[in-house]
């Protein structure tokens, strides 16, 4: 057992000890080559090839003070999996450790993902935030996960819980930041409960970095009349897997899932999403867009389940891609499983190149080739960017769109 901990996760890193669930993980292990779910993202191989967990030195750093995209009183920072900066709670938002979750909270779903089982079996730093009933948190919660691999490789495991109580509202921004060039591995989890008639908007941002390996699981449980919007933006990463699971656990839920990946070099990003319609009269809308160039790989898998009881479900999904080089690889797969009969579902995925006619038109007006491309790329991603309700994030991402044209 300790061999496995040492292999997959050393005591020296963020996770200190295993718990009762570790055995369950050991019975399953990490996904192997035959895994259907990780078919196009051979993360286990890459971890074994790139990571040397023994080399990781235990560090007890303090807040590295990295640049922030915006300011908010609700700012938290993790460094290599350890919480190094947090904020005090108030009447609207309470702050507790993730170990203090009352038994009444039903955060943890029964989910088979190997990395989820691994995360569950490890002690991990993290918080339990709750927005009190009927309140709106005016400024977003902003969590920066900093991985510093400047001196040695780094590993981190985190687990955070967010609960918006009935009729409350808040936004949460999770940003992953990489310092240093050595490889790193993260297993990160976020659990969100959107209470009755509550409204939550969540963001997962990875805008830089080069050698990170990451598997992240986000679980969202929606209650009656609730609204949730997630935006996942990944610009970089040696291998990044975003798992996003939305459970619509009652009627009249509204859920939006939007994603953007813009990759060059040998970056590899995989978005696996699941929307589970379990009750009647809910709506989900998913739109992911990708721009791939050079030797990058993009994977999209979108599962929509419409359970037998979920009559009058409206579920939409699209995944559109631009392939700017013939050495880039795309795997896209919609997976709709519909048991109910009175439903309206649509899905579509496309991949294509930049419109040559449009490029020529813009160049004939004096725009340089790269400028013309950048303009068309911005137009391509605009409908995802327009979903970003926090202006500084939108501006930052927009300013980085054309960077995909130039190898980092």
């Amino acid at each position: 057992m300790s061999e496995l901990i040492n292999k997959y996760f050393p005591t020296a890193s963020g996770a200190k000890t295993v718990n009762d669930h570790w055995e369950a993980f050991l019975n399953v292990g990490l996904p192997d080559r035959k895994s259907e779910e990780y078919k196009f993202t051979p993360i286990t191989n890459v971890i074994e090839r790139e990571m040397n967990f023994d080399s990781i030195t235990s560090d007890s750093g303090s807040d590295p003070g990295v640049e922030t995209l915006f300011s908010t009183p609700y700012h938290m920072v993790f460094l290599n999996g350890k919480l190094v900066k947090k904020f005090e709670g108030n009447d609207i938002i309470s702050v507790a450790a993730n170990s203090d979750i009352p038994a009444s909270e039903k955060f943890i779903p029964n989910w088979k993902d190997e990395f989820h089982l691994m995360n569950k079996g490890l002690e991990a730093d993290g918080v339990y935030l709750k927005i009190a009933k009927g309140n709106t948190l005016e400024q977003p919660v902003y969590i920066q996960y900093v991985v510093d691999s400047a001196d040695s490789q780094s590993a981190a495991v985190t687990r955070n819980y967010f609960h918006a109580e009935e009729n409350s509202e808040f936004q949460v921004v999770e940003e992953f930041i990489y310092l240093g060039e050595n490889a790193s591995f993260e297993n990160t989890e976020s659990h969100v409960v959107v209470g009755k008639a509550a409204r939550v908007r969540s963001y997962k941002l990875q805008l830089q970095g080069k050698n990170q390996l990451q598997v992240g699981n986000t679980f969202v449980q929606q209650e009656r009349d609730s609204y949730h919007k997630n935006i996942t933006i990944t610009m970089s990463g040696k291998m990044v897997r975003n798992n996003l699971q939305i459970f619509l656990n009652d009627e009249h839920c509204e859920s939006h899932l939007h994603g953007l990946y813009m990759l060059n070099g040998k970056n590899h990003v995989d978005n696996h999403t699941t929307v589970d319609h379990r009750f009647p009269n809910s709506y989900s809308n998913e739109m992911y867009k990708g721009i791939l160039t050079e030797y990058s790989t993009g994977v999209f898998n979108g599962k929509i389940y419409v359970r037998p009881d979920a009559q009058n479900t409206n579920a939409f999904q699209s995944n559109n891609n631009l392939l700017l080089s013939d050495t880039a690889t795309l795997h896209t797969k919609p997976q709709l499983e519909i048991w109910a009969d009175d439903v309206s579902c649509s899905h579509g995925c496309t991949s294509g190149q930049l419109d040559k006619e449009a490029l020529f038109y813009l160049r004939s007006r004096g725009l340089g080739q790269d400028e013309a491309k950048a303009l068309l790329l911005k137009a391509f991603v605009a409908d995802v960017l327009n979903e970003i309700d926090i202006e500084p994030i939108k501006e930052k991402v927009e300013s980085q769109v054309d960077s995909v044209l130039f190898t980092k």
Binding site: F360, Y361, S364, R365, G366, E371, A382
Partner: protein
């Protein structure tokens, strides 16, 4: 200003231009006419630098430089402007999105200061009046859902902003009613100056009542088979193209 010599151009191994010769001097207006499919748009595209057309023979000299060596954007910066026969739709990009960048590229090339947003706006407003175009149209996705007339007016508007030395209008008149035609012609005429030249590609004589050409050329089967003054256009209007075809076909086949 422009010297085209024995220009041959192909697309997908099909030779479309088969030896075009044409000289345009500053201040002149040349009309290029000809039946459908004779190569008018191909000539316009080759001059603007569209890459799918391969020049297999001949030369084009523009203001002393080898035009064929220049990328499309370099040609634009040197003062060439093509008003497209079929302006492309670009979802998510509006005219105002790219036009200031485009203009500033040209200005930089000419050694002028870039125009800031405020100055550009008033400059644009002036040009909008010229072609009677609405600002709302300029903020919409380019050509998406534009009527035929709006597309053409937008092309002329852009031309007015870019102030080219050599403007090439490819069938800007097709699909326009008489009022729109006058507006377009008025826009073109107001840009006339002794150091600028215009090539007007058209299928009909109608436009030439408003933009009076110094020369009229007829392209047929990829070469200029007849040149004359504005009377040639009237003659074509009256007699159609068949007499040209019957004159030329025996000679080239």
């Amino acid at each position: 200003m422009l010297k085209i010599k024995d220009l041959h151009a192909s697309v997908e191994d099909k030779e479309i231009l088969q030896g075009v010769n044409l000289e345009v001097k500053p201040g002149e207006v040349h009309a290029i006419m000809g039946p459908n499919g004779s190569g008018k748009s191909t000539l316009a595209s080759v001059l603007a630098g569209r890459e799918e057309y391969e020049v297999t023979k001949g030369s084009v000299e523009y203001r002393g430089v080898d035009l064929l060596e220049l990328a499309p954007e370099e040609r634009a910066r040197e003062g060439i402007f093509l008003a497209f026969q079929y302006p492309v739709e670009i979802p998510g990009v509006s005219t105002t999105n790219f036009l200031r960048t485009a203009l500033n590229q040209v200005r930089e090339h000419r050694g002028q200061e870039p125009m800031d947003a405020v100055n550009f706006l008033s400059f644009m407003k002036e040009k909008m009046k010229l072609v009677d175009i609405d600002q709302a149209l300029l903020s919409r996705s380019l050509n998406e859902g534009f009527s035929g007339g709006e597309k053409k007016r937008n092309e002329i508007f852009q031309m007015a902003v870019m102030e080219p030395k050599l403007a090439i209008l490819d069938e800007t008149d097709s699909g326009l009613d008489i009022d729109a035609l006058k507006i377009v012609a008025n826009g073109v005429n107001s840009l006339k100056s002794p150091d600028k030249a215009t090539i007007v590609v058209t299928h009909y004589q109608r436009l030439l009542n408003y933009i009076v050409p110094d020369y009229v050329h007829v392209i047929y089967k990829g070469r200029i088979v007849k040149s004359g003054n504005k009377d040639l256009a009237l003659e074509l209007e009256e007699k159609g193209y068949d007499w040209i075809k019957s004159e030329v076909d025996p000679v080239i086949s």
